[in-house]
Symmetry: C2
């Protein structure tokens, strides 16, 4: 290997690490946080942020995609470590936590910015087969009612994640739990 | 009784009948139907419509109030004729049908028209005690879980009534049925 090739590989690995740090920091600080808060948390310079994500909408889209990837990957670990019903219920909790922290993003997603074109639909389409597999396993175990699709479960949970006038700060988690209980095969 | 008093009473009774016919017609034709469609269906002249409801928003508010009154009154008949759980589930179906036909009204209700000031909140407050009584009876019968309020059930069902991208035309009724199943005491 030439020292040039070696240097290029190190640059790529630095870039991957910086992007990962920026996505984690943007998730923690909030995607609408000042740029400096995000880069301080990530331990990189502001130039690095703007090199990878010239516009804020590109950062937001990447954070969302990253979180959906995490949510999708969590399914396999849950399925491997728990009975089918428990894995299904735990994954819906995981999805709820993901959607529940995304309320402030609705405005961004509907802003007409091309970085968001079709993004919610793509994220949804990525998670439907993940839930479908958990559902299939739970059905084979006679744990879940037969008459509802993975897509309809995701849509229902997304509706139940919306803000309301409820006085209960745990309203959304609470009614989603009731909905999930209704999925049990009886 | 003088013939004047007799005439005044008949006028009042005509007015009551005309208003009832207009509310029924507006419900059937849709509150955004042309005035003539509504008055033809009600069998009254357009002048009668504008005398009772000078502005469309007043008609819409009256139709909504009328339907909420019907929905509230339905509870007693259901409670008298069915076991507590069945009465509760049937009333939630009734409420779902009411909310489900109101989708097009969201824009009107958020239009800032003073005829709608506080209306959704008042309708909601009128139905909470109605559902609370059905819930109390079903709980006394050990038919329903103890950890959810009437207000939170109404809010959850209202969220689940919203339009989505589901391919199932019965999506809303379907996921509300799952939610209601989750309310059962197990």
């Amino acid at each position: 290997m030439t020292s040039n090739a070696h240097g290029a590989r190190r640059q790529r690995s630095d870039a991957t690490r910086n992007v990962a740090a920026l996505l984690t920091a943007a998730h923690e600080a909030g995607v609408d946080a000042p740029a400096k808060d995000i880069t301080d948390l990530a331990g990189v310079g502001v130039g690095t942020l703007y090199r990878h994500f010239p516009r804020r909408s590109e950062l937001i889209a990447a954070v969302l995609q990253n979180e959906v990837d995490d949510c999708a990957q969590a399914a396999a670990a849950l399925a491997a470590s728990q009975p089918p019903w428990d894995a299904l219920a735990a994954w819906i909790d995981r999805f709820t936590a993901f959607v529940g922290t995304k309320r402030g993003l609705a405005a961004a997603l509907h802003s007409g910015d091309p970085a968001f074109d079709g993004l919610p639909g793509r994220l949804f389409e990525q998670l439907v087969p993940v839930l479908a597999r958990l559902l299939e396993t739970a059905r084979a175990d006679s744990a879940v009612r037969a008459d509802i699709t993975a897509a309809d479960i995701l849509l229902a949970v997304a509706l139940l994640c919306q803000p309301t006038s409820s006085e209960d700060p745990q309203f959304n988690e609470h009614v989603i739990h009731v909905f999930v209980e209704g999925l049990r095969h009886t």
